[in-house]
């Protein structure tokens, strides 16, 4: 087998460049193993965030040959043999150093999600059927690798949209809450007006890169869009609400969360 040729982005907020490394191949390696070998031999100062090495912590997100992937879950033998492997940090977020980017944007957006707000607790506790539990279970598999946020062109190519766009990772959180039978918040106006649901043009890149195979677009974003249509764009639904005297909650009521 020929040597493994790695081309890794080195730099920080002041700029950077690619550096090339060449190593002997080892059977069964993932890209993170190769990065660790480079750290152990040629570049001990190479920065790389990682933790579980099992595809469950979401720490080692980066871009391999231009595609967002987990370094720990990408086997070297899945990549074109004999060709250079390019590793860069996630493009949508500010860089800290080398392969480590600042993902705090996502946590700021997570803080803006109006939290789960159940009705007063009945005697004997809350009850949920298995069908309702299973519906939200898919969304709970998210490991917060933020690759869906990274690949989303709404913020990847348009920094100015970050103010008013929650992104796919938070849309699955909104969807999970909206589909929760015990939640009393109505977030439809919020996701439309302040979280930029309308900016998503459903190109499904988030679904393509999700390492947990969550159907982000089909099961979260499109159902959210349809709920927004119910609320704001469907005259028959509007008439139904009028006849049945079911009023939609106001944006002010939707923009709330319980105290910690």
């Amino acid at each position: 087998m020929s040597d493994v040729k790695m081309r890794i982005w080195r730099g920080d907020k002041d700029g950077g460049e690619f550096e090339n490394y060449s190593l002997k191949p080892q059977e069964g390696e993932v890209v993170l193993d190769v990065i660790h070998r480079i750290q152990a031999t040629e570049a001990p100062d190479l920065a790389c965030r990682w933790n579980c090495k099992a595809g469950k912590c979401g720490s080692c997100s980066a871009e391999i040959n231009g595609k967002p992937r987990l370094l720990c879950m990408t086997r070297m033998d899945q990549l074109p043999e004999g060709e250079e492997v390019t590793v860069t940090p996630m493009r949508a977020f500010p860089i800290i150093r080398d392969l480590v980017s600042d993902v705090s944007y996502n946590f700021e957006k997570a803080r803006q999600v109006p939290a789960f707000l159940p009705p007063p607790r009945p005697e004997g506790g809350y009850r949920m059927s298995q069908a309702d539990v299973e519906r939200g279970q898919e969304f709970r598999q998210c490991i917060e690798c933020f690759m869906c946020q990274d690949v989303c062109h709404v913020i990847r190519d348009h920094e100015e949209n970050k103010t008013n766009y929650a992104g796919p990772r938070l849309f699955i959180r909104y969807a999970e809450l909206e589909m929760h039978p015990l939640d009393t918040n109505d977030r439809r106006d919020l996701v439309r007006d302040k979280m930029g649901l309308g900016m998503c043009n459903i190109t499904k890149c988030c679904t393509e890169v999700c390492p947990e195979h969550i159907k982000i677009t089909d099961n979260a974003i499109i159902p959210l869009k349809e709920r927004v249509v119910d609320a704001d764009f469907d005259p028959v639904a509007w008439l139904g609400r009028k006849i049945l005297r079911r009023t939609k909650r106001t944006p002010a009521e939707a923009s709330v969360q319980p105290e910690a």
Binding site: W9, G11, D14, G15, E63, N65, G66, K67, P80, T86, T88, P89, M90, R91, F93, P94, I95, S101, Y105, E108, R111, Q112, P120, R121, P122, E123, G124, A131, D150, V151, H153, V154, R156, D157, H158, E160, K162, T163, E178, M179, P181, K194, G196, G198, M199, C200, N201, T203, C205, V209, I222, E226, R227, V229, D230, D234, E253, V256, Q257, E259
Partner: protein
């Protein structure tokens, strides 16, 4: 049942500022992808472009869309069904026309609805945003627009009418199913039979039902919009029925597009006398 008070109070936290800016890592290039990411958009442009060109020609040509009693077959092209206009020959008598004021090709009146259904379809939106609009052309390839507002403003905010086109689509499915059933007749002979044309029309109607039932709006209206499945067991059953179909929506979208064009081609070839509609039994 008694209840205890919920201690949660409502606090507005939606205005937490997001810090923007900061130098990004990696080189300033359109993409670092090394695979053939451009292939899918090129194929999509070729197929959708070909369909649009063919459908436009077929809609304007205004002939050879009906095989009638003189050929002992009852076949009508899906582009021209239902035949409700003054100019449509399949009604047999012009005075039966519902839209008597419409004197040009009837297809132009009809195609608005299936075209609108497909144009606002979530799957086709994905396809043409990527391939025609390059927003983005492929995942992690930079889009070609300086600013971007997606479907949040006019005109793209009109994509939200998709469910209404879906309702119209259901009406057309019923009509095309009726056409498929009528295709079993052999007018002039007074009997029934199965021809290649019958099979083609049946296949077309079946795939269009598949495309409509797998639609995301259908899935939502069937049961997706409820908060609690357990309180709506019948809607939950509907939702469970259409959810596996929804997973195949892309396949239904492409295959039904091919077959609707194929059906028009077949009826056109038979009506013009180029081929004979072979009778199976």
């Amino acid at each position: 049942m008694t209840t205890t008070e919920n201690s949660a109070t409502r606090v507005d936290n939606s205005s937490t500022p997001v810090i923007l800016g900061g130098a990004r890592g990696g080189p300033d290039v359109t993409t670092m992808r090394t695979d053939r990411w451009w292939l899918a958009p090129v194929i999509t442009v070729a197929i959708l472009g070909s369909f649009v060109i063919y459908a436009t020609w077929a809609a304007f040509v205004n002939k050879d869309y009906y095989v009638g009693a003189n050929m002992h077959r009852d076949l009508i092209s899906p582009f021209y069904s239902p035949c409700l206009t003054q100019s449509c020959v399949a009604t047999g008598a012009a005075n039966k026309a519902v839209f008597s004021w419409w004197t040009i090709s009837p297809a132009l009146l009809i195609l608005i609805f299936p075209l609108g259904f497909r144009m606002t379809c979530y799957y086709y939106r994905r396809s043409y945003y990527r391939s025609f609009w390059w927003a983005p052309p492929a995942c992690s390839v930079a889009d070609s627009h300086k600013s971007y507002s997606g479907e949040s403003r006019f005109p793209l905010i009109m994509q939200n009418v998709h469910r209404y086109f879906w309702y119209f689509g259901l009406v057309f499915n019923v009509l095309l199913t009726y056409d498929a059933v009528m295709a079993f007749r052999t007018p002039g002979d007074g009997g029934i039979g199965v021809t290649i044309g019958t099979m083609v029309l049946c296949l077309n109607a079946t795939l269009l039902w598949g495309y409509s039932l797998s639609c995301h709006a259908c899935r939502h209206l069937c049961g997706g919009q409820v908060r609690s499945f357990s309180k709506h067991p019948i809607r939950y059953k509907f939702w469970k029925f259409v959810t596996p179909l929804n997973a195949k929506h892309m396949q239904f979208a492409w295959v039904s597009l091919f077959v609707v064009a194929l059906t028009d081609v077949y009826v056109r070839l038979v009506a013009s006398g180029t081929i004979t509609d072979f009778k199976l039994f």
